[in-house]
């Protein structure tokens, strides 16, 4: 059922890899038969989960990595419930129906030194963003928070793009505590990008606002459609209710009323 008309696609992609990174996270690699469209960091795909009676709607997943040459995309997924569990069990060669690319990506903000703050599976879009910024010659620093070392996985690909600081809530790796308390937050940044749990992003946004640093956050709102038709993903902003799937998921935090 491949239909490639215009910009958004409905397409069956083939699983070319599926690998656990730790107990909860896995990376799903999918290949398109067609040339990939332009996909930008912060955009997402609506994934149809087959063979799961509990999973009626599609599941929104950010792009973690994109390889135009091999026509492959990678998704970093946390096993949350029935849908992601089913995705974790996909085998090579199986097909996955996706609608993509969706949503407003991160913007290339003014300046040269950027901090990318991620929590848990919120790392996913920050890798692709890191690649984009790195390619644009920017200096980037990652600051990632996890609950504990058990949630961690090999982050060397991030380190290829820039410096990386870690915090864990229990101190089992990196600094003990939350990302929001990490000293690197205090350095002078031209902009901050963030993706992770909402309470974390709110604090980051508040720090940024206080320092007058531009900040973009990627929200994880529940979605009905993912492409602007249902108005279920509404987010309160200074411009009124906006759709996380079209006007977001990336928002400038000063526009958010959260």
């Amino acid at each position: 059922m491949n239909q490639i008309i215009g910009k958004k696609r409905i397409e069956d992609l083939e699983v070319t890899g599926n690998k656990w990174l730790n107990e909860d996270y896995f990376v799903l690699t999918l290949r398109s038969e067609e040339i990939l469209p332009d996909i930008r960091a912060g955009q997402f795909t609506q994934v149809k989960v087959e063979g799961s009676p509990e999973t009626f709607l599609r599941r929104p997943i950010s792009f973690y990595d994109v390889h135009p040459s091999s026509r492959e995309i990678r998704l970093l997924i946390r096993k949350a419930g029935a849908g992601t569990k089913r995705l974790s069990a996909l085998n090579k060669g199986e097909k996955v129906n996706m609608i993509y690319p969706l949503g407003r990506p991160f913007s290339l903000l003014e300046g040269n030194r950027f901090l990318l703050v991620g929590g848990g599976v919120g790392l996913a879009p920050l890798y692709l963003l890191g690649k984009e910024l790195h390619r644009a010659g920017k200096e980037i620093v990652f600051l990632f928070g996890f609950r504990s070392a058990g949630q961690l996985f090999d982050l060397s690909q991030f380190k290829d793009l820039g410096e990386l600081y870690l915090t864990t809530e229990d101190g089992s790796k990196g600094e003990k505590g939350l990302v929001t308390g990490h000293p690197v937050m205090e350095q002078g940044w031209d902009a901050i990008y963030t993706c992770g749990p909402e309470p974390m992003m709110k604090v980051i946004a508040a720090v940024a606002a206080e320092k007058g640093v531009p900040c973009e956050a990627s929200l994880e709102t529940l979605m009905g459609c993912g492409f602007g038709a249902c108005l279920c993903c509404a987010v309160e902003t200074v411009h009124g209710m906006q759709r996380a799937c079209v006007e977001g998921p990336v928002f400038n935090t000063k526009e958010l009323l959260w």
Partner: protein, 303 residues
């Protein structure tokens, strides 16, 4: 070639497959996925007199083979529709039927009158069944007296095809269909969503900010089908069936039960190209079963 044309009031649809209000935006959100001109009609998102922000988030929850929404009547108001959206619609060779909502009889009449003069809009769908607003909406659709009042007032003000969208949250939906018919409606469409609720047991909180919302999707299909059957037995005007439709087989079922046309709602979210796949499936069914006109399917249930 099979004949797919059907008539709803003064509107001739090129085929019986249309898309449901609130599930297809103004059609424009779907142009990447399919040629919307091939649809019988598109029912727009609810339009009210003034702009509305709709309900707070979260506005939705997933349920077994269905979803609950409490979007409310978020829209930019009828004037915005006329100025900014209406001009784009004539690029498409299908009918746009405007879903009209309000909190008061006056608001319904105001919106209907403003739409009345729009040349390219052949009809409206009077939404007296939205469960997601405090005032108006379903209140009109669950009380016979209010229903009659608002239908009568709009019928006086609106001169083209008037379709009344009925609420399933009533003891006898056919009573409301009969009221619509008596008051001169050209058609009834049913069902709107069923009032429902979802709870997050772990956090002990409602999953939806407004606590309750409207249930749609395949879960409700058996109820919708029964209601279409009941209403089609009772009225003379054409019935537009909807509720959980996600395949051509579902459409055949609704037509056999008495629907003249159908609307595809929630299923569009899961497969945005589904409406045209459904259309292909109907043609296939007609060919396999030797139907030359889709009209023959309406009410063709053998009992």
């Amino acid at each position: 070639m099979v004949d797919l044309e059907v008539k709803i009031g003064g509107i001739t649809l090129k085929n019986p497959v249309t898309t449901a209000s609130g599930c297809f935006g103004y059609g424009l959100e779907y142009t990447d996925f399919l040629d919307i001109s091939r649809l019988g009609a598109i029912f727009t998102k609810a339009t009210t007199g003034e702009p509305r922000e709709g309900n707070p988030s979260p506005r939705m929850a997933e349920t077994p083979m269905g979803m609950i929404n409490s979007v409310g009547l978020q829209n930019k108001g009828v004037d915005h529709f006329i100025e900014h959206i209406y001009p784009h619609l004539s690029a498409y060779d299908t009918h746009f039927i405007v879903n009209v909502s309000g909190s008061t009889v006056e608001e319904y009449v105001e919106v209907a009158s403003k739409i009345d003069v729009l040349e390219k809009i052949p009809g409206i769908e009077l939404n007296i069944s939205c469960p997601n607003v405090k005032e108006g909406g379903m209140v009109f659709g669950t009380d016979p007296v209010s229903a009659r009042k608002v239908i009568r007032a709009v019928r006086e003000a609106y001169h083209k095809t008037l379709i009344v969208k009925l609420s399933p949250n009533v003891t006898s939906i056919k009573d409301f269909a009969l009221i619509a018919q008596e008051e001169g409606a050209d058609s009834v469409s049913l069902i709107n969503t069923l009032l429902a609720m979802a709870i997050d047991a772990e956090r002990r909180k409602p999953l939806i900010a407004r606590i309750t919302g409207g249930l749609s999707g395949p879960a409700v299909k058996p109820i919708a089908l029964r209601m279409v059957w009941e209403v089609a037995q009772a009225v003379e005007i054409p019935v537009i069936g909807l509720g959980g439709i996600s395949s051509a087989t579902d459409v055949i079922e609704f037509m056999l039960a008495g629907a003249t046309a159908v609307q595809v709602g929630t299923a569009n979210f899961i497969d945005p190209a589904i409406s045209l796949k459904i259309l292909e499936g109907i043609i296939d069914y007609m060919e396999r079963h030797g139907f030359s006109s889709v009209k023959e399917l309406t009410g063709a249930l053998e009992i």
